[in-house]
């Protein structure tokens, strides 16, 4: 059942694709969006254990790490800031939480057209030094 206190509120999510799947992170975890074909920037799909599809228009996202520094990773387009109704956002059921092989998966959003995994960046950001960003960048 939908908890009544969810009301009409919404959660801002930055949605993108990785490994051919729709994924999202909370907007507060994204600090910048960039365009680059720099092959040295690692792909998020690889971090998640998903197949690295060759996107036609790869985009770069800077995720806020635990140390507040940006970690750049390549994702698939389109990258969109969307406001999802709280009633469409669910915690992972215990079986999924135990078995799902996607680092950082903490919740999912469900719409008529499909499901979208919501990730926590700390789950997929390597504890190593922050990656260099692209030449041009802008915040989403």
């Amino acid at each position: 059942m939908v908890p009544p206190d969810l009301g009409q509120e919404s959660l801002p999510l930055v949605c993108f694709r990785a490994g051919g799947h729709l994924l999202a992170v909370e907007a507060r975890h994204v600090v910048a969006l960039g365009d680059s074909d720099d092959p040295t920037v690692p792909a998020l799909a690889g971090r998640l254990g998903l197949p690295e599809t060759h996107e036609d228009t790869p985009r770069l996202l800077a995720f806020r790490g635990a140390d507040e520094t940006p970690h750049w990773l390549a994702v698939g387009a389109p990258v969109r800031l969307e406001h999802w109704a709280l009633t469409s956002i669910f915690p992972l059921p215990s079986l999924l939480a135990a078995c799902l092989r996607v680092p950082g998966a903490v919740a999912l959003a469900l719409a008529d057209q499909g499901a979208c995994l919501i990730l926590e960046p700390e789950g997929f950001l390597a504890p190593s030094s922050p990656s260099a960003g692209p030449g041009k960048e802008r915040t989403p």
């Binding site: 059942m1 939908v2 490994g19 799947h21 994924l23 998640l48 254990g49 998903l50 009633t87 669910f90 059921p93 215990s94 079986l95 999924l96 135990a98 078995c99 799902l100 092989r101 996607v102 998966a105 999912l108 469900l110 499909g114 499901a115 995994l117």
Partner: protein
């Protein structure tokens, strides 16, 4: 009783009483509710206490990173339930495209999930005396999951423990 001579009323009543005693059903015998499902040309049963709901076989929303057998999730009146393909878990051939199915929402321990079967045949109360220990020669993974076996339409049907099934699945994919 000599041939040709009709029985006395006492004899008739005595026979009646004997016959009715023979057909008395012990209604106090404990019974277990079972959900009998059809899966890849055989019946399987599940304890009714472990089946919370029987749903139409709606397609699951696929999620990345699902291990084999985990189809994805479905929305059940505002709640999310993961769906496991029982055919995959039992190493049975996949269903034909567009083959109808049902989803049993099963609960075992702290884990709840949908189990996709081909169809639900019957929900029935079975006398506990009809539930026999499963044969020791069952192959894996049935050996771990079978609680008992009972006769149904001239066949032996295995009763599977959803709690063990879900527990094994989670343990195998941690």
């Amino acid at each position: 009783m000599s041939p040709g001579r009709p029985p006395s009323l006492d004899q008739v009543l005595a026979r009646r009483a004997h016959a009715s005693r023979a057909t008395v059903v012990d209604v106090d015998e404990p019974r277990t509710k079972l959900v009998v499902a059809w899966l890849a040309r055989e019946w399987l049963a599940f304890p009714g206490r472990q089946v919370r709901e029987i749903l139409p076989g709606t397609p699951a929303f696929f999620l990345p990173g699902c291990p084999p057998g985990l189809e994805g999730v479905i929305n059940v009146r505002g709640d999310i339930e993961p769906v496991l393909c029982l055919r995959t878990l039992l190493h049975l051939p996949p269903p034909a495209p567009d083959e109808p199915s049902r989803i049993l929402i099963g609960k075992g321990g702290s884990v709840q999930a949908g189990l996709r079967v081909d169809r639900v045949e019957e929900v029935m109360d079975v006398p506990d005396s009809a539930l026999q220990p499963p044969p020791p020669t069952l192959p894996d993974p049935l050996r771990n999951w079978a609680l008992s076996i009972f006769p149904f339409r001239n066949q032996g049907v295995l009763v599977l423990d959803i709690e063990r099934l879900l527990g094994d699945y989670c343990s195998a994919h941690l």
